[in-house]
């Protein structure tokens, strides 16, 4: 039996049937979490913000247009959640370069190099213009299609293509690739 589509689940949520609501969480929470991790640079904050997206999903379920694709709608909520977060006074947060991996477990030494690359990428993203950073994370981390990006940002598909391309070029001018030094112990 084919499983319920996001749109079917959302239609049920609108009628008060929460039995399958977990499907939306299971399908989208990782993408949303990554979006927040790479825009806020904080895992602790990202957990809260991801949860906030789902809180708003239930609170504003009436605003969902029946049959419309759910993924862009969720990511639009995520953008609003992020915008509200930036408006709040800054609080202490756990930086990405803390002592643990995203899973909460200590980093194995074998992951060190991968981690250095990731840190370099995150540092470059952090220096990017916020609008370009969001766009790049949507297109290359959350893997949203151009049509989904166009819907989220309320622009044409061609404009989405151009903006993603320019954001990636801007990123490329900032990012300094990690180099492995053979002479290091």
């Amino acid at each position: 039996m084919p499983s319920l589509s996001d749109e079917d689940v959302m239609a049920r949520i609108q009628t008060g049937d929460l039995e399958h609501a977990g499907l939306l969480f299971e399908r989208h929470h990782t993408d949303l979490y990554r979006f927040f991790v790479h825009t806020t640079q904080s895992r602790a904050v990202s957990q809260d913000l991801t949860q906030d997206v789902f809180v708003r999903l239930f609170a504003y379920k009436a605003s969902y247009k029946r049959g419309a694709p759910v993924r862009p709608w969720l990511h639009r909520i995520a953008r609003n959640v992020l915008a509200d977060y930036w408006k709040r006074p800054r609080r202490d947060s756990v930086a990405l370069d803390d002592e643990t991996t995203a899973s909460g477990l200590p980093s194995p030494i074998s992951d060190l190099e991968r981690r250095e690359v990731l840190d370099g990428l995150d540092a470059a993203l952090a220096r990017l213009d916020p609008a370009q950073r969001e766009l790049l994370v949507h297109s290359h981390v959350s893997d949203l299609s151009y049509s989904e990006i166009a819907e989220i940002y309320d622009i044409t598909i061609n404009a989405a293509r151009v903006r993603v391309c320019r954001a990636l070029r801007a990123f490329r001018t900032i990012y300094i690739p990690h180099e492995v030094h053979d002479d290091l112990p």
Binding site: L18, E26, Q51, S103, L121, V141, V162
Partner: protein, 241 residues
């Protein structure tokens, strides 16, 4: 086609003939495309941060609260105003506690202790309300590892309960009991027969640290299912790796 014309298509994995023709004749656009593709690969390869498992607990806890809040008053509560209903409920609870105390005193030498408590919760697992059954599962889940009758009750729930959330909670409660062959067999059966992806996911999470040949075979068979939820397919593959 000019350089600005091809810009929107520079990241496309497959180029149309016109764009390709421009790239063949323009070294600058070719270099930009190569650089962009390189950055794209780098980002996609390194930014696959996994979400912490604690987020799942927080989400389902919120969902449980929403479901509880959603329950509309039934019976006498639907015609008594909330202002009157609350004190009335307290009064009924007060009388009930006294009545229970009196009964308990009269049965002092009778059966009491944790066994009786478990029996009480086991009967809650048969309640008509899914919320009551769910609460029952949460209450009793710690006993599953040590008490056979609790495991049997939870196995019955994962096989027959009409509520997805109750089946998911029962599977989570049974996860520490997977070393018991009968529980493992029941979870494997549920994985292959339950049509709900959420239940299948919960079964997979329970089974992922118990990949016996029997489990691996069930996972292989699951991959053959047409229309399998992509999320499940991905999870199965990660377990089988």
């Amino acid at each position: 086609m000019t350089c600005p014309d091809v810009e929107p298509f520079l990241l496309d994995p497959q180029l149309d003939a016109e764009t390709q023709a421009h790239l063949d004749s323009c070294a600058e656009c070719r270099a930009i495309r190569a650089e962009l593709m390189d950055s794209q690969t780098l980002l996609r390869a390194h930014m696959d941060t996994p979400a912490p498992p604690a987020m799942r607990t927080a989400f389902y806890s919120m969902l449980g609260d929403l479901q509880n809040a959603q329950r509309t008053p039934t019976g006498w509560r639907s015609w008594v105003s909330p202002r009157v209903a609350r004190p009335l409920r307290w009064a009924v609870a007060f009388v009930a506690v006294f009545a229970l105390g009196a009964v308990s005193m009269s049965l002092l030498q009778g059966r009491s202790g944790p066994g009786a408590e478990v029996n009480g919760v086991l009967s809650q697992l048969e309640d008509a309300s899914p919320t009551m059954r769910l609460t029952g599962v949460y209450t009793i889940s710690d006993e599953a590892a040590t008490q056979e009758q609790v495991r049997e009750a939870l196995v019955a729930l994962i096989q027959t309960d009409p509520s997805v959330n109750v089946r998911v909670a029962a599977l989570e409660a049974l996860a520490p009991s997977l070393p018991h062959a009968d529980v493992r067999t029941a979870v494997v059966q549920v994985l292959g027969s339950d049509p709900e992806p959420l239940v299948q996911l919960a079964a997979l999470r329970a089974l992922e640290s118990h990949t016996s040949p029997e489990v691996r075979q069930a996972l292989d068979e699951l991959l053959e299912t047409p229309d399998l939820e992509p999320l499940i397919r991905e999870h199965v593959r990660s377990i089988l790796l």
